[in-house]
Symmetry: C2
Subunit: 111 residues, 2 copies
């Protein structure tokens, strides 16, 4: 499997940047993370997801969405809301969320 | 050292999301990356930087800036431009850049 970043959609679109530091141990996180990864792809207007985590350090997930309505659907999805609650209770030491409108983007792939 | 995400500034502000996959080997990347990390902090209007890289996989850097002028200063900085050229020539298999205006943000830190 070749990993590569999501090809930038045509602007304007929206992005949700989620940066986090985990607590110790898995505590069911992995299973839920896989499920959320699956679930977000079912949201109409979902355009892609890039994720990275430095071992023992920061994790960053960047979701791309067609518009604010798509983000609102994802934010208020009941399974996602339950996961957000467990995130605060158990999985995250700290996190930040940034919701932003993408004005410009470009990509590069080695020829 | 405790790692934690940058505390979200008060919106509106701008974010530059840079996602990338590296080529094999270091080829001087590490040194330049450290220098860029130092240099971006000197840009007036720079607000913070979150970075993560999955070993052997995707890297994501998210920079936060007060406004578009600050991003333009960073984009056109001569040392940064030289690094961007080497990036395309040597360091990156693929990358994407998204420039976006942050409309909402929030953070969480365990009590």
């Amino acid at each position: 499997m070749t990993t590569h970043p999501v090809r930038p959609p045509v602007p304007p679109y929206y992005t949700v940047v989620f940066t986090s530091v985990r607590t110790e141990g898995d505590n069911g996180y992995g299973e839920t993370a896989d499920r959320m990864d699956e679930l977000v792809r079912e949201i109409p207007g979902f355009l892609g997801l890039d994720s990275a985590r430095t071992p023992g350090g920061l994790g960053i997930s960047v979701g791309y969405f067609r518009d604010k309505d798509a983000i609102e659907q994802w934010r208020t999805n009941m399974e996602h809301q339950a996961a957000q609650q467990r995130g605060k209770a158990e999985w995250y030491e700290s996190y930040s969320v940034h919701i932003a409108k993408v004005e410009r983007s470009h990509g590069f792939e080695r020829g």
